[in-house]
């Protein structure tokens, strides 16, 4: 007998938060639901709500519990959850496709071969697949503007490293568990460094500080090291030579 499906599940986060979880794994419907539910709460401008966010499969709501008691928030969330099937809601509007020049492998991204081997592929085939897969911004988090991207094919469901990679630079494309992360700053990581871009996710000195939005899609097309160096020579806008177009469909 299978236990009843507990999702969507509403739980408390510390003293001043609630978390609505749509699944215990990253699936396309759970991620859509988390994004759409967060967008709807933002749209409704509930009194006492101070901040919201969406993670891979959950929506987080922070509120002032002095103005809005926990019980009231829980009740409102339950009512909103019952309004429709959030798992089948469309992705947010205004999504964009970013095409980002990327050097795979070389000393700029030294763990490509290791990642390819873990996926059971030769490096050329791994690059071909990685560079042709349109991935979606599933969530932005950990560091400012930093996207978790997926899904990649099941062959890339490779574990995180046992030993941390002591430091990867800004713009590093790293891979684990069928996802990419595109780092917004230099950081140690347990993910494998397979590609290097000149794309800056967080541009605090510019009017638009955050480049990406959840739901955007990205394609990391392979370029040579020379091409990336050429792009870096003139990268004042931080785009790293990326093109950006609206997704209309």
């Amino acid at each position: 007998m299978t236990p009843p499906n507990p999702f969507p599940l509403v739980r408390t986060v510390g003293l001043d938060g609630a978390l609505v979880t749509f699944g215990d794994a990253v699936t396309e419907p759970a991620n859509r639901a988390a994004l759409a539910f967060r967008a709807e709460i933002e749209r409704q401008h509930w009194d006492g709500v101070t901040e919201t966010s969406a993670s891979l499969a959950s929506t987080y709501i922070r509120f002032d519990p002095v103005n809005v008691p926990h019980a009231e928030v829980t009740q409102r969330l339950a009512a909103l959850l019952n309004q429709k099937d959030w798992y089948s809601t469309p992705l947010p509007e205004g999504r964009r496709l970013w095409c980002v020049p990327t050097v795979y492998g070389t000393d700029l991204a030294p763990q490509l071969e290791e990642a390819a081997a873990a996926a059971g592929l030769d490096p050329e085939e791994a690059v071909r697949r990685l560079s042709q897969t349109r991935v979606r911004v599933l969530t932005i988090g950990f560091a400012p503007g930093q996207p978790y991207l997926g899904p990649l094919g099941p062959e890339f469901n490779i574990p995180r490293l046992q030993e941390l990679n002591p430091m990867v630079p800004e713009g590093a494309l790293v891979l684990a568990i069928s996802q990419f992360v595109l780092f917004s700053g230099p950081t140690p990581t347990g993910w494998r460094h397979v590609g290097q871009t000149a794309f800056r996710c967080f541009r605090p000195e510019m009017a638009q500080s955050f480049a990406l939005r959840p739901g955007d899609e990205m394609l990391f097309k392979a370029v040579s090291r020379e091409e990336l160096e050429h792009i870096r020579d003139d990268n004042a806008d931080g785009s790293g030579g990326a093109t950006c177009q609206e997704i209309t469909a």
């Binding site: 739980r11 408390t12 510390g14 003293l15 901040e51 002095v66």
Partner: protein
């Protein structure tokens, strides 16, 4: 109204109450590690707690008044003097043009605060003046920097009795959404354990140590990354806890066993290395009572301010400082 920084400790940053609304973009709140100290400084200077102040981790610096400037000193007590004369912590003081304020190492706690009348003026980024070092927003204050302040008039020579929070103690916590990943045995042991603050600490988080085994959750390595909030007590791979502070990551995969109440975060952040910490679970109702009391204490701070020199106890205290330091002679 401005102060020129002549010397400065290695970890001093401008902080206000932090920025809200960018969690969805991966940017955590930042803001003062000791929010109570921010409110105390505002009360002493008769201004808004939204004003930015200089947060000094462990060590202050030397500041020269380019113009007459009101200041207040709060948070972790540090040895302070104006032109060589010791001055009282948790109080406001007037600096005349050219006077030098020297602030030494923390005597207790971690984070001392230097407030200026009118608040430190700095560029507002996404609604806040708070530096966020891990996000590379702003930077540490350096020698040669000028702490400019807005227009300002008002009194000085006022003091506050601070609430004690500089040597560890009990932190009240509530269960959070991952608490049930830990079994009852682990939770009981967690609540009974006498922790000590470890040596690894910065504005992102502070490590706790204890004798005995670590605390592991069920399926710890397969947990989906979820939202993180300041106050969360995160178990790392080795099962040793970190209390997360204002510059913490916004999401993460290590499970959180409980969350420290906002009213106890000043005490958490001010606990020095080696000092004891225990956790006490409370229900949401109990937590709300503590939270409401804290909010009301913050609101009442302006009414708790008293004149500095009227109390004989303080005068005696001041004299003892002067005798110890020996920099004031009877003929001055």
């Amino acid at each position: 109204m401005s102060l020129t920084v002549r010397r400065i400790g290695p970890a001093c940053t401008l902080q206000d109450q932090g920025r809200t609304g960018f969690l969805d973009q991966g940017l955590s709140r930042s803001g003062a590690a000791d929010i109570l100290a921010l409110h105390e400084g505002a009360a002493l200077l008769g201004q808004s707690p939204d004003c930015a102040a200089l947060e000094m981790a462990g060590m202050g610096g030397e500041f020269e008044a380019s113009q007459p400037t009101r200041i207040a000193l709060t948070g972790a007590p540090m040895k302070a003097s104006i032109d060589g004369s010791p001055v009282v912590w948790n109080a406001s003081h007037q600096l005349t043009q050219g006077q030098r304020l020297v602030i030494g190492a923390a005597l207790q706690g971690n984070y001392g605060y230097l407030h200026v009348g009118g608040g430190v003026e700095a560029a507002v980024f996404l609604g806040s003046r708070s530096t966020h070092l891990t996000a590379k927003i702003g930077r540490v204050v350096q020698a040669g920097d000028v702490l400019a302040a807005g227009p300002d008039t008002g009194n000085t020579g006022l003091k506050l009795i601070p609430s004690e929070r500089f040597s560890g103690g009990v932190l009240h916590v509530v269960a959070s959404f991952q608490t049930s990943l830990f079994d009852n045995t682990a939770l009981d042991r967690f609540a009974r354990t006498k922790f000590r603050r470890g040596t690894r600490a910065n504005r992102m988080g502070m490590q706790l140590e204890s004798d005995g085994d670590g605390f592991a959750a069920k399926g710890q390595l397969n947990i989906l990354s979820e939202v993180i909030t300041p106050g969360d007590i995160q178990m790392t791979g080795t099962g040793s806890p970190f209390i997360l502070l204002p510059e913490c990551q916004t999401t993460g995969g290590y499970p959180r066993i409980a969350t420290v109440l906002p009213c106890d975060m000043p005490r958490a952040a001010q606990t020095p290395a080696g000092a004891p910490i225990r956790f006490e679970f409370v229900t949401i109702d109990q937590a709300m009572a503590l939270h409401t009391r804290f909010q009301s204490e913050l609101a009442h701070l302006p009414r708790q301010v008293e004149p500095l020199l009227r109390d004989p106890h303080d005068i005696a205290d001041l004299l003892s400082y002067q005798l110890i330091s020996g920099v004031i002679s009877a003929t001055d």
